[in-house]
């Protein structure tokens, strides 16, 4: 029992790192733009298909594919911002919500037509590591390490570069940042691009160890919301912490009850945290 529990806990934690990356993107977008990106899950699914396509069609190693997918996602994020969001940035949350939601519907609709909804998987293995009685899959270890590296890189970018400081300035006070000569349009577009990029990277990493369809993004998006709320919406680094909590939960819950109850538990937690402490467990007061 204990060995089983610790094995699934470690497994859950490793996946939690990747969830954290996805949630970080969502959190960054909310923090800087005050937009809840409902196309986040769909972007993740696109990231998965990007890796899948590069791997099966061109034979590119998934870990080389991830940076390429990240670049494409960054550009895709700029596109979404320009087409769907820029015009409604001042119109209030109802319109930004509906706009990103419409983007989500378009991606899912086109994706379903192109890729159908039959499950795919990236048939790629890095072997496994024996630790005591537990077996850790190589792909999950690499994904967890990559997630930590990305988090550190994001931290360094946000706190030690001029552009990163501009992003944080806009996040704190858009009007004041504009008075300091920061072009808020550029910063908003960049933030959305970065958020989309993180989603695609998380999607790509997930694709190396879970089967997926174009609709898989929805479940991960919901998880990302739970994580953001746990770590505090608008606090990108708290997202990694939230991801670990959720990953641990996902590891532990199936030991005690049927797997089909996992979404009910996750959602219950989500509403509970939203209602009791909407700023998140680590969020500011």
């Amino acid at each position: 029992m204990f060995a089983h529990l610790s094995a699934s806990l470690v497994d859950g934690l490793l996946i939690g790192f990747v969830y954290g990356i996805a949630a970080m993107g969502l959190s960054l977008i909310w923090g800087v733009m005050r937009v809840i990106n409902l196309a986040h899950g769909a972007t993740m699914a696109l990231g998965m298909f990007c890796i899948y396509g590069l791997f099966t069609k061109l034979g590119i190693n998934p870990y080389l594919g991830v940076p390429l997918a990240a670049l494409l996602a960054l550009l895709f994020g700029f596109l979404i911002y320009g087409v769907a969001l820029h015009r409604v940035m001042q119109s209030g949350y109802l319109y930004t919500l509906l706009a990103t939601f419409a983007v989500n519907m378009i991606i899912i609709g086109v994706g379903t037509t192109l890729f159908t909804t039959s499950p795919r998987n990236v048939d790629f293995s890095l072997g496994s590591l024996q630790m005591g009685s537990e077996i850790l899959l190589g792909t999950r270890l690499v994904a967890a390490v990559a997630s930590v590296v990305i988090t550190v890189a994001l931290y360094l970018f946000l706190y030690f570069t001029r552009t990163g400081k501009a992003i944080r300035a806009v996040s704190n006070n858009r009007a004041a940042a504009e008075l300091m000569g920061i072009s808020s349009t550029q910063v908003l577009a960049l933030s959305f691009g970065l958020g989309t990029m993180l989603a695609a990277v998380a999607g790509g990493l997930t694709a190396t160890f879970f089967p997926f369809t174009i609709l898989s993004g929805g479940a991960y998006q919901l998880k990302s919301f739970v994580i953001c709320v746990l770590g505090g919406l608008g606090n990108p680094l708290g997202a990694l912490f939230g991801g670990l909590i959720l990953g641990a939960l996902e590891g532990i819950v199936p030991v005690f009850m049927p797997v089909s109850w996992v979404p009910v538990v996750e959602f219950g937690l989500f509403v509970l945290v939203l209602v009791v402490r909407p700023t998140g467990l680590m969020g500011a007061k």
Binding site: I36, L38, A84, R87, V88, S91, Y93, L94, Y95, L97, L98, A99, F101, A102, V103, N104, M105, I106, I108, G109, V110, T112, T113, L222, F225, V229, P258, S260, W261, P263, V264, F267, G268, F270, V271, L274, V275, P278
Partner: protein
């Protein structure tokens, strides 16, 4: 209360009343099925409009009330043999109770946070029902064919169901109009425009929001019971179609949120549009993407929907289009 003298009121009511009455007169099965879908959309969209259009709270999980209320009504009908109209009212009552409980907790959240919470409600409700044994779990429930005999055979029963749906539609539209023009409705609109200012002006916002949420939950349950009785079975996948929830949202936006006429026009236009797209081989699979494109275009360029657009262009028609 002089709503019967208002042109806007009669346009809305007569539109659905005459639409349904014509079908009853022509008495043709295929036409009935088409109009059944339209009336169903009108009820779902109009009730969503109460919380989304008037109060300004986006609910991505409106279909939950259709599913849960319909499930309960169908359960009473198929397992306990209650008469249809009692089942409808019982389903509606359960829906209202759930909305009151959920709303009291979730509506403390403002705006975007509320919308977030509603996204997962549908999944949670489906997962719950699929694991809930009295509702038949993942396989759902069936009605014994003899249940239709009480209404004079299955063919007569279908017409009876249609007539009930027609009456529910008229009631829904009347209620929406009355709510919009009541003190309560003005309070809701004040919440939409500025919740803090509404509070200062003496609107009891937590109470008003919860009441609006509960009211919007009642009508989908009636439709759900009728719809599942018409189909003869109910299963979780059919009851909690997230996509339908989204399509209702598009209908409200398309017609114009906040207007009583909006959801009626939106439901009609969307159903016709979908009908055209579904038969065309090119767009058959793309209809979700097209709904998304329509929604995006409305959000970006026509935030008032069709009704709002016409009202902006032709101010003289404002008295008629409410």
């Amino acid at each position: 209360m002089s709503f019967w003298r208002s042109a806007g009121f009669w346009i809305n009511v007569l539109l659905v009343a005459i639409g349904g009455a014509v079908v009853l007169l022509i008495h043709q099965d295929t036409l009935r099925e088409t109009v059944f879908t339209i009336l169903m959309f009108v009820i779902l969209a109009s009730s969503l409009n109460i919380i989304m259009g008037l109060t300004g709270y986006v609910n991505f999980g409106h279909i939950v009330f259709f599913g849960l209320g319909g499930y309960f009504g169908f359960f009473l009908l198929s397992q306990l043999g209650w008469p249809l109209y009692l089942c409808m009212i019982a389903g509606g009552a359960l829906s209202v109770v759930i909305a009151l409980v959920v709303g009291a907790a979730v509506l403390r959240l403002r705006g975007a946070y509320f919308a977030l919470a509603t996204i997962g409600i549908n999944e949670a409700a489906r997962a719950f029902v699929a694991n809930f044994a009295p509702f038949g779990g993942a396989t759902g429930l069936y009605v014994n064919f003899s249940a239709y005999n009480a209404y004079g055979g299955s063919s007569k029963a279908l017409w009876w169901i249609f007539t009930l749906l027609w009456i529910v539609t008229i009631i829904t539209v009347v209620v929406c109009y009355l709510v919009k023009h009541s003190r309560f409705g003005l309070g809701l609109i004040a919440i939409r425009e500025d919740e803090d200012a509404a509070m200062v002006m003496g609107v009891k916002t937590p109470w008003a929001k919860t009441a609006a949420f509960a009211l919007s939950a009642f009508f989908p349950a009636l439709v759900g019971t009728l719809y599942f009785f018409k189909n003869g079975n109910v299963e979780p996948e059919d009851a909690f179609r997230f996509q339908l929830s989204l399509e209702i949202l598009v209908m409200v936006m398309l017609g114009g949120k906040g207007y009583v006429l909006g959801p009626i026009i939106g439901a009609l236009a969307y159903e016709r549009l979908r009908g055209v797209l579904l038969v065309s081989p090119l767009f058959k699979n793309l209809h979700l993407a097209l709904s998304g494109a329509i929604l995006l275009l409305i959000v970006l360029f026509m935030p008032g929907g069709l009704v709002g657009w016409v009202r902006d262009r032709l101010p003289r028609l404002r008295r008629w289009l409410e």
